[in-house]
């Protein structure tokens, strides 16, 4: 059995879990999520929120005692969870006895009733200790299990959670494809049924369990295949990926397509900022300025009711927009050439705000329309709806915007990829690492900084252009500082300089909150927590860009690159 000091450390973990759980209750996350069923009549998303901290500390507590017996580790996990549950129980008793709603509005009787599992506060407190302990033991059990089993269990649980969260999107789609029966089997009053939860869990877990050996076998098979077959297979893969991306809105439906459009916009912005921040190391906190310039230029050129009143078609306006944004990039880049680090960040932050205030200002109202913005921006293909006769698809709203956006994202990703592994990309990286040395090595830091700003601006303005034509109007309110912060958070979360990282970051920070409508209120809170956690746990981001290289390196094997025709010189003695 663990020693007393080890118990103490588990208990401390439990205390941390307790603090987090109480915090989640106080700010109202638990209350907001308690309405949302995960498995109907069994547990809600609010309960999941209460379970996550004990689960995590249970997992950590068991992980700390690797040298102990399994029972000891389970006990440690259970203890950590129980302490967390006990704290929540005490909070429950306290809040039931003393009315603290004057300070904490969210601590309503409903919430307390929910925490107490609908029981008396005293019984509820005890139930919470048991619940916390159970979570802790379960998580410890997962930690103790061999990885082969651990992964399927976690994946299965996540599968259940995500399937239930997708309910508002999935159910209408299933009904549309005349699979209403499946929807009925799967869902019951906005949550999974018990049976379907079990089925989803088992299916996902089994798939995960079988996936690894299958993948290993497939990749071995692929390696043995001759190069031409490999090439064909690669092309088939790329083609399948593109086909999938192109049919995605049809599968997902208008609701999810709207989410996809938002994610796509932020992928585009992220790819642009990634060049400025990730490649060239210029911390730009005013990136929204380029987004705004893209949107406003598009609106000015394409809207018949704008001050220009030209009403150009979108695709004719686009080159002018990109050029205009690139010039803006140069204009913003030029004065900040000599600034570094914090100073650069502050000044660009100012430029971002200046852009918004200019668009908002009364002085420029005749041009930009002030608070009213610009209306009736041209649609992307000139029409609101396109019918594809062959496939029978009807493209409108988000399902229509999705396609040009996808093309822009692919182009931006391609450009970013090509630049990254070129002389230009290396020069940017060198500048990021050490500006003085880069200059002394022969890199014109002035030119490359301006190039980075112009590139970032050109890609960012595409996002703005799509945004303007998607909403068919622009307002200055859409271009505030939170856009800059969000894009930066995406780049940091995904991993600075990493292209797939941007996609993952946008899916996590834009896509997930859209699935959880209740999240909207807490979005900034979650962003802050995510950034702090990332800096502590994984500062290189979710998908750092050198991991792949390292993997490739290990695959090629140490020493295999070593067969060089050099003169071998004997070691001393």
């Amino acid at each position: 059995m663990p020693r007393s000091s080890e118990f103490r450390s588990s208990a401390v973990l439990g205390l941390i879990a307790g603090v987090i759980v109480i915090y989640l209750c106080l700010v109202g996350i638990v209350g907001a999520f308690s309405e949302r069923n995960v498995v109907t009549n069994v547990f809600t998303l609010g309960r999941v929120m209460l379970a996550i901290p004990p689960l995590i500390v249970g997992y950590l507590a068991a992980g700390r005692l690797q040298h102990r017996s399994i029972v000891g580790r389970l006990v440690a996990g259970g203890l950590a969870g129980a302490v967390g549950g006990a704290m929540l129980g005490l909070f429950l008793l306290f809040a039931s006895a003393v009315d603290i709603r004057d300070i904490f509005l969210r601590v309503s009787p409903d919430l307390l009733d929910f925490i107490a599992f609908g029981q008396d506060p005293a019984i509820g407190a005890i139930l919470n200790v048991v619940f916390g302990a159970a979570c802790g033991v379960a998580a410890a059990g997962v930690r103790v299990a061999p990885p082969r089993w651990r992964r399927p269990v976690v994946a299965g649980a996540l599968g259940v959670l995500i399937t239930s969260l997708l309910e508002p999107f999935l159910r209408p789609r299933l009904q549309e494809f005349e699979l209403g029966a499946v929807a009925k089997l799967l869902y019951e009053s906005h949550g999974l049924t018990i049976a379907s939860a079990i089925v989803v869990f088992v299916v996902v877990a089994a798939a995960t369990y079988l996936w690894r050996p299958t993948r290993a076998r497939l990749s071995r098979r692929l390696e043995q295949a001759d190069p031409s077959t490999q090439n064909t297979l690669r092309w088939i893969g790329v083609l399948a990926g593109i086909l999938f991306l192109f049919s995605l809105p049809q599968l997902a439906g208008p609701l999810l397509s709207q989410v996809l459009v938002l994610v796509g916009l932020y992928v585009l912005l992220g790819l642009g900022l990634n060049i400025v921040v990730g490649y060239a190391g210029l911390l730009d906190l005013g990136y929204v300025a380029f987004y705004a310039v893209g949107a406003y230029l598009t609106a000015l050129l394409t809207s018949p009711s704008s001050s220009l009143g030209w009403g150009l078609p979108f695709w004719l306006a686009l080159p002018i927009v990109v050029l205009g944004a690139a010039v803006t990039g140069l204009l913003i880049g030029a004065p900040v050439l000599r600034l570094r680090g914090d100073y650069l960040a502050i000044v660009t932050l100012g430029f971002g705000e200046i852009a918004r205030i200019l668009f908002l200002s009364d002085a420029l109202k005749p041009v930009f329309g002030g608070t009213q913005g610009i209306l009736s921006v041209g649609a992307i293909f000139g029409v609101g709806t396109i019918d594809l006769p062959i496939l029978g698809w009807r493209l409108t709203g988000p399902t229509l915007t999705y396609y040009p956006l996808l093309v822009f994202c692919l182009i931006a990703g391609f450009v970013a990829y090509r630049l990254k592994y070129s002389r230009t990309g290396r020069a940017w990286n060198a500048m990021r690492e050490d500006e003085d040395v880069a200059e002394a090595t022969g890199i014109s830091t002035v030119n490359y900084k301006l190039l980075a700003f112009a590139m970032g601006a050109s890609i960012g303005c595409l996002g703005g252009a799509v945004f303007a034509t998607h909403l068919q109007s622009v307002f200055p309110g859409s271009f505030n500082i939170t856009v800059s912060i969000t894009v930066l958070a995406i780049v940091i979360l995904g991993g600075m300089g990493s292209i797939p990282g941007v996609v993952v970051g946008a899916l996590a920070l834009i896509g997930l909150p859209e699935l959880l409508r209740e999240f909207a209120e807490f979005r900034l809170l979650v962003y802050g927590a995510v950034l702090v956690l990332m800096m502590l746990v994984r500062p290189e981001g979710l998908l750092p860009d050198y991991v792949r290289r390292r993997e490739l390196h290990e695959e090629s094997g140490p020493g295999s690159l070593d067969a060089t025709p050099g003169v071998q010189v004997g070691i001393p003695e």
Partner: protein, 296 residues
């Protein structure tokens, strides 16, 4: 002869480089053009530098003949680094002119001087730490490459060839400085100290410089490593037809390897000449070594 710059016997594999046999690998044995001999590659005339009234360099005349190894020495705070930084155009001289290969470098940016053919290393190693070893060297070749951003996006064929040649060339440089080719995908910051010094030299050589400026190349080395380094410097000059300027704090290092030594003290040139002359110069002994006159 087979001393290694870092004394840790980390791997059993024999290390190349820093040795006689390899130095000719890149360009082959070079032959000196007799007409070129004695030409002045870089010269400074009456160079002074003041920082807000504080005089860092006063009226320094200085020359580097082609294919020579020249050293600037002086105690800490003598103004060596300030002078060095003016040669690479990091600072502009307050007065005086500096010419490199017939070009007045006044008004040039450091990157333009690098393009003319001046490459340098740093006393406290300054690599691009989060870039791979390979990319550190290919960045060093930046000024000799032509690929622009639009070439990269369009996948221009001649530029792709240029990239391949650069990588090949970088691998040769790895051989030359004695780094194993297998480290090319490692991040520079993960290399041991001695290898980082080698990499810095490789990065400098990648730009095919005419003049190589080495800022205290033996800082932090033990006597054995120092001797290997000085041997390597001598071979670089001979085999790559380089001209080399050394800045040294430690007088012992430059005695063996350089033909001409300039001594700075309190921002002024106090002596100039061959190592034997410098060794005997009473002003140098007094200013640089202190009045005790410890043996050099």
């Amino acid at each position: 002869m087979s001393e290694r710059m870092d004394d840790q016997p980390r791997d059993s594999e024999p290390r190349r480089g820093w040795t006689e046999e390899d130095a000719g690998l890149v360009t082959g044995q070079a032959t000196l053009d007799p007409e070129e001999n004695g030409r002045i590659l870089m010269s400074a005339v009456g160079v002074s530098k003041t920082f807000e009234g504080l005089v860092a360099n006063r009226d320094i005349d200085f020359e580097i003949p082609l294919h020579s190894i020249v050293a600037i020495i002086g105690p800490n705070g003598a103004g060596k680094t300030t002078f060095f930084n003016q040669l690479t155009a990091i600072y502009a001289p307050t007065s005086g002119t500096i010419t490199f290969d017939g070009v007045d470098i006044a008004g040039l940016k450091p990157h333009q001087v690098a393009e003319l053919g001046v490459a340098r290393t740093y006393q406290n190693i300054r690599l691009f730490h989060n870039m791979t070893v390979m990319n550190n060297i290919t960045v060093g070749r930046h000024v000799r490459m032509k690929g622009q951003w639009f070439h990269a996006i369009l996948g221009d064929r001649t530029i792709r060839q240029e990239e391949e040649l650069t990588v090949e060339r970088a691998r040769e440089l790895l051989d030359l400085v004695g780094l194993r080719r297998s480290v090319e995908d490692q991040l520079a910051k993960n290399l041991p100290y001695g290898d980082q010094r080698r990499l810095e030299v490789a990065r400098a050589l990648a730009s095919d410089p005419k003049l190589l400026l080495l800022d205290e190349p033996t800082a932090g080395m033990n006597p054995g490593e120092t001797r290997t380094m000085t041997d390597f410097i001598a071979r670089l000059r001979r085999d790559l037809q380089l001209t080399i300027l050394l800045i040294e704090h430690d007088m012992k290092v430059v005695m063996g390897v350089s033909e001409r030594i300039t001594v700075l003290d309190h921002g002024e040139k106090i002596a100039e000449g061959s190592p034997t002359e410098i060794r005997a110069d009473p002003r140098v002994i007094e200013a640089y070594l202190g009045k005790q006159g410890e043996s050099v």
